[in-house]
């Protein structure tokens, strides 16, 4: 690839290709040109030849014709046969030549000429000649002459003339042709010359190009080489060409660069060498300078310090003047003596040893020492001893430099003393600061007292102390037994205060007690220092008392403490103030938090500073005391909760705005189910004319709102409910008054009016009842009653109902309740009549009683219209009737259930409805029973029984409800489930549906059918014939006759109820169950 691309970019290849191309072009062009010339020449020679040929043929023809005429003349003249023969031969020749001529390429003129010749020839041969011959034969020369003159001779002459002309012409033409040829040849020569010149020019151009392409870069390279040699920067751009020169260029550039790099490196090395040399010179110079410096330093040293030189043995060999000046020894007194001459003061043996050790190892030793002078005075010297080593590393001498620092030393000592004092002052200050801090920031009194005592101990080293805040009786003690403190507070407090009132401070000196004396052998005195803290009104705020053992108080100390007490007074007053404020704040907070209304305070920027608990609960917002909630945060939350977002936002904005100076209010709601209605009012809050914020007060008005709504709803409903019957009453009355009509119609109208008026009254009564109950004005007179009894009593009233039969299934063992009997009767009546009213197509209503823990449940069940599921919940509200046409027709005030609910709930019961539309409704209520405890045990028992076998079912068919109640109570007690019936037919139907273990029948039943009829019906039916029947009746003898051996037991009224239950138990026990009819054994009277 690379090679190929190189080859592509090669100059050799490039120009080789061009030259080859040009060569081929020249050769092709030359060849073409040559062929063309050849062709042209051929053409010309061919033309010439044909022309020549023609001319020859014509001349031949002319000679032949001449020959013909010659021979003809000869013949005519000579009459020689031979001449005739030759004439014929000539004619044949002429004919042949004519043919040859005819075959030549002829022009039109020539063709004309040929035709003339031919016709002449034919004329001559066929006519003239034979004529002539004949004339000759006949020797008629006159005719012959005539014939000759006839013109044939003329045409022959014309022809001959033409031939001559033609010959001339063809010669001319040939000449022309030769001229033309020469001209053409000249042209070709010129073209060839021109062509060659162009090729020459082209080659010259090519060579010039090649030279230019080659020479230019080479020249540049030359220049670059020169500049490289001269060491200049090579300013060569990269060549675009990739050919040999381009590559040479690149190679050269690389070479040049590497050469330059090397050169630079060399230069750098060179410079470095120069720098090193410079440095060396510099060092040398510096050394010389140092030397002179050292010399001058030595001079200076000599002047300022004492300098001595000692041998390795410690003998002075040199001492300068200063040494003698410091030590008092003269030079001569020093030199030659050992160092021991100068007595070292206050130095131990070990220290000396250390110094020697250091010096012997070649180290420099330097320290401050006291030396005795010749006069015996100690002076402070700063000594430096430098050992000098010889080449073997052995010490050969020491140089000692010393200067007097005595004055400096004394200053130093003074300074240390001052420093110590300062340190102490600082400590004091720190302690004071601490006290200040403590008394400023401690807000708790106990803590304050403790801190104060600690501080005092620290500062004045009391052995024991005591600090009492008089008002609060808060005492802090240290080192004093608790009992002493109590004694102080209880008894002597007043006395102490009494003395302190007059004397702010006093000191007591007393003998130390045994415990204070401790292990001290001697008697020790104890000093008690008492002082007070008083406020501006000279009131004693606190008392401080401190004791020291064996160590009295200085006047300064006492003053100091007193000064401190003034500060403490301020602190205590501040504490009191803080407490008062704190108390006030707490009180305010408690008040705010215990208000039912939500309270919120917002500053002028909208930052919420305060909200109370009621508001937190109301809007469900978490807020901790003291946190600030930014405007956006709380407002967004409040607005997001509300249902009137825009309105509330506007309200907040306007209320917070600084220009609003009056309070405003609005109502809004929160949430959906349940909806909270809130009334909020905003009050701008001012502090001395300056607006500081806004107070929002929120009031939960949900109840009021709902009451309002309910009230207006109620008013509208009541008015509607009243207007409808009123419309009828007024309308029909008016009709009666204004129209004449038949008496029947009048009666009908009157009846309607009466009915509607009654409905109106009922409505008003119900409404007033309910109103009274709801407003709590209704009195309830509770008494002990048996609910079963009440239920039976109410059912009793429906006995005569022709449409519905009311059946009671009583399973309640404990039906004792504490209720208002009349009200419960009202409820039952209401519910039963509802059940009957709303089950028009059925003929039975069932009442069921049973116990649940602590309660008795009464259920009134019908198979009537039922209630749509979505309306069940509303039925206990006022004026709510099942909203459909079928029930509308039935009518009612729509208040009955509301009244029932009110009554039952006032008796601590609950009421409810279960219903399936189209199938029937069960209204139930439960009431708390008395003796719940006892009945619960009974329940347990029953449950146990129930587990073993189902409760035996017994039906009582009895129309006297008190008797029926008596029986059922007895039977329920024995664990039977009792179903009451009062109608024989219904009882029979029931017997078919429910399996009874026995049926108790009263013989004296209604008017249509009696007990006997029932017994008969039961016995006649195969499904019921096996059920044992117990007759409970006042039976006379005649009836007995009717028994016909079918009745097993017979109870005569009145009989003890136990009798019946015993009988029934027996039946169940023996399970005879085969259709016996029983009668009572005993006829004992109750």
């Amino acid at each position: 690839m690379v090679k190929e691309s190189k080859a592509n970019h090669s100059i050799k290849n490039k120009y080789f290709r061009i030259i080859v191309f040009v060569f081929s072009l020249i050769i092709i062009m030359g060849t073409v040109f040559f062929i063309f010339i050849n062709y042209e020449q051929d053409e010309l020679s061919r033309d010439r030849e044909s022309l020549q040929n023609k001319a020859d043929t014509i001349s031949e023809m002319a000679s032949t014709l001449n020959d013909v005429f010659f021979r003809a003349r000869g013949f005519t003249l000579l009459k020689d046969e031979n001449e005739l023969k030759l004439l014929n031969v000539a004619l044949v020749n002429f004919d042949k030549i004519l043919d040859t001529y005819s075959n030549l390429n002829l022009t039109s003129e020539e063709a004309l000429f040929r035709d003339g010749l031919k016709s002449f020839y034919v004329q001559y041969k066929n006519k003239t000649l034979p004529e002539a011959i004949r004339l000759v034969e006949a020797d008629n020369y006159a005719a012959l002459r005539a014939l000759a003159e006839d013109g044939s001779t003329k045409s022959v002459n014309d022809f001959l003339t033409y031939t001559k002309e033609y010959r001339l012409r063809s010669d001319t033409e040939l000449n022309n042709m030769a001229l033309d040829y020469i001209k053409r040849a000249n042209e070709f020569t010129f073209i060839t010359f021109f062509f060659s010149t162009i090729i020459l020019l082209f080659f010259t151009f090519m060579i010039w190009r090649i030279l230019k392409n080659l020479i230019n870069p080479i020249l540049k390279l030359e220049g670059a080489t020169h500049s490289l040699a001269a060491g200049e920067e090579i300013l060569l751009g990269k060549l675009k060409n990739q050919d040999e020169i381009g590559r040479l260029y690149t190679a050269f550039l690389n070479m040049a660069r590497s050469i330059q790099d090397k050169e630079e490196e060399l230069m750098m090395q060179n410079e470095e060498l120069h720098a090193q040399q410079d440095e060396l010179q510099d060092q040398q110079y510096r050394l010389q300078r140092s030397l002179s410096e050292i010399e001058s330093m030595m001079k200076a040293l000599n002047q300022s310090s004492a300098v001595g030189i000692l041998t390795d043995k410690g003998v002075f060999t040199y001492a300068n003047d200063n040494l003698s000046k410091y030590t008092g020894y003269k030079n001569s007194e020093v030199i030659g003596f050992t160092y021991k001459l100068l007595e070292l003061y206050n130095i131990s043996r070990e220290q000396m040893q250390k110094i020697f050790n250091k010096l012997n190892t070649g180290g420099v030793w330097s320290d401050e020492l006291q030396i005795l002078t010749k006069d015996g005075l100690p002076i402070w010297m700063h000594l430096t001893i430098v050992p000098y080593l010889n080449n073997d590393g052995v010490i050969y001498q020491y140089i000692l430099i010393a200067y007097d620092i005595t004055s400096m030393k004394s200053v130093q000592l003074e300074l240390a003393e001052t420093l110590k004092n300062t340190e102490q002052t600082k400590k004091m200050l720190e302690l004071n600061n601490q006290l200040n801090h403590d008394i400023t920031y401690t807000l708790d009194k106990h803590e304050f007292a403790d801190k104060f005592i600690q501080f005092m101990h620290h500062l004045y080293s009391f052995d024991s102390s005591f600090f009492l805040l008089v008002k609060d009786k808060i005492a802090a003690v240290k080192g004093i037994p608790q009992e002493n403190v109590e004694r102080y507070l209880d008894n002597e407090n007043n006395e102490m205060l009494y003395r302190l009132k007059t004397e702010k401070t006093y000191l007591i000196k007393r003998l130390a007690t045994q415990s204070e004396q401790g292990i001290s052998a001697n008697e020790v005195y104890c000093y008690d220092f008492y002082t007070t803290v008083v406020n501006a009104e000279d009131e004693i705020l606190a008392v401080f008392c401190g004791s020291r053992i064996g160590h009295s108080f200085s006047k300064e100390e006492i003053n100091e403490v007193q000064g401190m007490m003034n500060r403490v007074a301020l602190a205590i007053e501040r504490l009191f103030m803080y407490e008062e404020i704190e108390h006030g704040r707490k009180l305010n907070r408690d008040i705010v938090n215990n208000v039912n209304e939500g309270i919120q305070f917002v500053n002028t920027e909208g930052m919420m500073l305060q909200m109370n608990k009621a508001l937190c609960n109301m809007v469900n917002f978490e807020w901790t005391e003291g946190t600030l909630i930014p405007r956006k945060e709380w407002m967004d939350y409040f607005i997001e909760c509300s249902n009137e977002k825009d309105k509330l936002w506007l309200f907040f904005e306007q209320a917070i705005a600084e220009y609003s100076l009056e309070s405003s209010s609005m109502q809004y709601s929160i949430g959906t189910e349940p909806m909270k209605h809130i009334d909020v009012y905003a009050i701008p809050v001012f502090r001395r004319e300056l607006r500081i914020g806004t107070l929002f007060v929120y009031r939960d008005i949900t109840r009021e709102y709902e009451l309002d709504l309910m009230k207006s709803d109620l008013v509208s409903t009541v008015s509607h409910e009243l207007r409808t019957p009123l419309s009828s009453v007024l309308g029909f009355t008016e009709l009666l008054l204004s129209k004449t009509m038949k008496p029947e119609k009048q009666l009908k109208y009157l009846e309607t009016i009466h009915k509607e008026a009654k409905r109106l009254t009922e409505l008003i009564n119900d409404f007033l009842d309910l109103q009274r109950m709801e407003s709590g004005k209704q009195q309830y007179i509770t008494e002990h009653v048996n609910l079963s009894e009440i239920v039976l009593g109410v059912i009793d009233q429906y006995k005569l109902s022709s449409t519905h039969h009311v059946l009671l299934v009583d399973e309640a063992l404990n039906a004792e309740v504490d209720v208002d009997k009349d009200k419960i009767v009202q409820v039952l009546t209401n519910l039963l009549s509802n059940a009957i009213k709303f089950s028009p197509s059925s003929n039975e209503v069932k009442v069921l009683l049973h116990n649940e823990p602590d309660h008795i449940i009464v259920r009134i069940q019908d198979n009537g219209l039922g209630i749509p599921k979505d309306q069940i919940g509303q039925l206990f509200q006022k004026f709510r009737r099942v909203d459909n046409s079928a029930s509308k027709r039935i009518g009612g005030t729509g208040l009955g259930l509301a009244i029932c609910k009110e009554i039952i709930e006032k008796q601590k019961g609950t009421i409810g409805i279960d219903s399936v539309e189209g199938e029937g409704t069960t209204v139930w209520f439960s009431l708390p029973i008395l003796n719940a405890e006892a009945s619960r045990q009974q329940d347990e028992l029953n449950k146990w029984n129930a587990d073993k076998e189902l409760k035996p079912n017994v039906m009582i068919v009895e129309d006297d409800y008190s008797l029926s109640l008596l029986l059922s109570e007895e039977l329920k007690g024995k664990g039977f489930r009792v179903t009451h019936h009062y109608h024989p037919q219904q009882a029979f139907d029931q017997a078919l549906k429910t399996p009874f273990v026995a049926i108790v029948v009263d013989l004296m039943l209604g008017e249509e059918l009696d007990g006997w009829d029932l017994i008969r019906m039961l016995k006649d039916d195969s499904r019921t014939e096996n059920i044992p029947i117990v007759i409970s009746s006042a039976l006379d003898q005649s009836d007995k006759n009717q028994l016909n051996d079918v009745i097993q037991k017979y109870l005569t009224k009145p009989y003890p109820p136990g009798e019946l239950s015993n009988t029934l138990e027996e039946i169940v026990k023996i399970k005879t169950g085969v259709g016996e009819v029983l009668f009572p054994e005993s006829k004992k009277h109750l």
Partner: protein, 124 residues
């Protein structure tokens, strides 16, 4: 023969209105006991006047009017008869398309007069 329909869920009131209007000549009176029945009858037949009760179960008088098409409303006069006689109710009734309004309790003779007026083309 002109046709009137009385729509009221209270049988007694239907009877009262029927009896009030029975003496009108050339008038046929129909009744409907709820809104649905009224709408069915209205779609099947043309009535000159509908006396419509406001408070009815399942469908109020207003709802009946709302379901009635505009064409029927323009050719049938509606008299709203209602126990809800506050201004709000009156406005609501008129908005729904009732041309006449009468509060309960009403005077049958007055009703008669109004109906006569409506049927004779007065106020059309």
């Amino acid at each position: 023969m002109q046709k009137i329909m009385v729509v009221d869920d209270e049988e007694v009131l239907r009877m009262l209105i029927e009896d009030t209007l029975e003496d009108l000549e050339n008038v046929e009176i129909h009744t409907a006991e709820n809104g649905l029945e009224a709408l069915t009858k209205l779609s099947a037949d043309h009535f000159d006047l509908v006396i419509l009760d406001y408070m009815m179960p399942e469908m109020t008088g207003i709802e009946v009017l709302q379901q009635l098409d505009e064409e029927k409303k323009s050719t049938t006069a509606i008299l709203m008869l209602t126990a809800k006689a506050q201004d709000v109710d009156r406005i609501r009734a008129v908005e729904a398309g009732a041309r006449y309004f009468m509060p309960k309790p009403f005077s049958p003779m007055e009703l008669l007069q109004i109906v006569e007026g409506i049927l004779s083309g007065e106020g059309k």
